[in-house]
């Protein structure tokens, strides 16, 4: 474990060196994701200037869900961004060979190879929005709220990473699976707003097929006392661990199916 931590830091050091040589790119990426989040907030603000509540949710509650949704997403974005590259070109161009010939677990190498600073932008925006909304709301769990919140963020990271890992692993069979990831991430956009504005069928898909509703909406609703803690937080953790286990199975099967590119 200590060895992996040390190795991860070495990888991270290399990443930071390359960031230093593209300083403007780094700032642009950070700004991009912060801008996206803050405009999302501005959108909610504009809408609530015109109406008192959204399907029974106040402005503070909607922003809490919105901010909360960015936390797990931001963490996942920082640490597992190389999965996008796997889905995009690593398999198609045979670049994955490089990882297989080294004496370290392939998944560790893959994730450690890339630290995505753009995710910091999402995370900072998420923290800012959540921190703005939280003091304006009542949390029935009282002193337990931060611990429950942390558990929910963990669940959210697990769900995002699992969906990404499973879909990126499809590249081992079909070579290019980035469009699947793209479509799944579009679905995640539904999760930023309260689920009760959507029809039943869509809610079902977002809860049980691509469980993005558990990345933010259900846990946030549980923290606000609108769902039970057992369902909102416990359910999110259960879904997170099951999804992570399933995605690891897909990854393993994918590794076995991998055949390098020709020539």
């Amino acid at each position: 474990m200590a060895r992996y931590a040390w190795l991860y830091l070495r990888y991270l050091g290399q990443n930071i060196k390359s960031l230093m040589s593209y300083r403007l790119s780094f700032l642009v990426g950070l700004a991009a994701f912060m801008a996206r989040q803050f405009l999302g907030v501005a959108f909610v603000g504009l809408v609530f200037a015109a109406i008192p509540d959204l399907a029974g949710w106040s402005r503070e509650e909607v922003l809490f869900v919105y901010g909360f949704a960015q936390l797990g997403r931001g963490f996942d974005h920082m640490f597992t961004d190389n999965l996008w590259i796997l889905a995009w070109r690593m398999v198609a161009k045979g670049e994955f060979d490089r990882i297989l010939v080294r004496p370290l677990p392939p998944l560790f190498q893959l994730l450690a190879e890339r630290f995505q600073t753009d995710g910091i932008g999402e995370l900072v925006a998420g923290i800012a929005v959540t921190a703005w909304a939280a003091p304006r709301l009542d949390f029935p769990a009282g002193a337990w709220t931060p611990a429950l919140g942390a558990a929910a963020v963990l669940a959210s990271i697990l769900i995002y990473t699992a969906v990404k890992l499973a879909l990126a692993s499809l590249a081992f069979w079909i070579k290019f699976s980035q469009s699947y990831l793209f479509a799944a991430y579009k679905m995640a956009d539904f999760a930023m707003y309260p689920m009760n504005i959507y029809p039943k069928a869509l809610r079902f898909v977002l809860s049980w097929a691509l469980p993005f509703a558990f990345t933010a909406y259900y846990p946030a609703a549980a923290l606000l006392g609108r769902e039970s803690v057992a369902f909102g937080i416990g359910g999110a953790l259960a879904v997170g661990f099951v999804a992570a286990a399933l995605s690891l199975l897909v990854w393993r099967a994918g590794l076995r199916a991998y055949e390098s590119a020709g020539s």
């Binding site: 593209y22 403007l24 790119s25 780094f26 642009v28 990426g29 700004a31 991009a32 994701f33 801008a35 996206r36 405009l39 501005a42 959108f43 504009l46 809408v47 200037a49 015109a50 109406i51 008192p52 509540d53 959204l54 399907a55 753009d118 469009s179 699947y180 793209f182 479509a183 579009k186 679905m187 956009d189 539904f190 707003y193 504005i197 959507y198 029809p199 869509l202």
Partner: protein
Amino acid sequence: MRLAPYLRFTRNSIQTLLAYRANVLFYIFGNIVQTLVLWYLWRAIFAGSATGRVNGFTLGEMAAYLLAAVAAQSAIGGNAEDVISDEIMEGSIAVNLARPLDYRTRIFFGHLGASLYNGVVVSLPALVIALAAGASVGSSGARLAAFGVSLALSFALHFFYKFMLGLTAILTTNVWGVFNVEAVVSGFLSGALVPLAFFPEWARGVMGLLPFASMVSVPALAFAGKLSGADFARALAVQGFWVVALALFSSWAWKSLVTRVSVNGG
């Protein structure tokens, strides 16, 4: 100028996009999802209003506005910025500059192909699904015509804008980040997500000075029947102004930046 060689780029760009059919399906799906998120959100917003009107819009007008905005966005979408930035980063721009074709005209015709493709293949399914989900749109021939005229001007000014955007690849390597910021900011300022009527007075003042409203808001308002004759004429004049201004500005940017292109290797 003979058009035939350039029209090939239009055809070519459509064929390239059609060649990756599986990807196309996913992009169509992504667009449908995005349209549905917006539609359900606005439906809930209107359900929360006591009068059934929000900032002067009825739900029907809002549906018409949003669908027209989706259609306009994809029909002016094109891919000029991607093509230019790819060529700059790969270095193939060097060969393309040496060809006996005007670079900007060539990019324009490729962009036209991608826009036609986006407008038809990508946005139509999203519109059909949104209509099936209950978004009702009443429209007349006059409104459709107004939409078309205004969309043509949007297309022109948006092309010059995208052309300049592609040139940013000369200045930074993180074009992906730049395009991302741009997509978010212009999506917001153009009225593609929220009609400009929802913005506070001061913000509308600022947006009136920028070209974004001329890209999406004007055709969408025309389609939703929210512009009177005089307002529509004025909006068209502003669009025309931006076509000319951005054409001149992009020529200047092209002339001053093209000399700075540095191509690696070979």
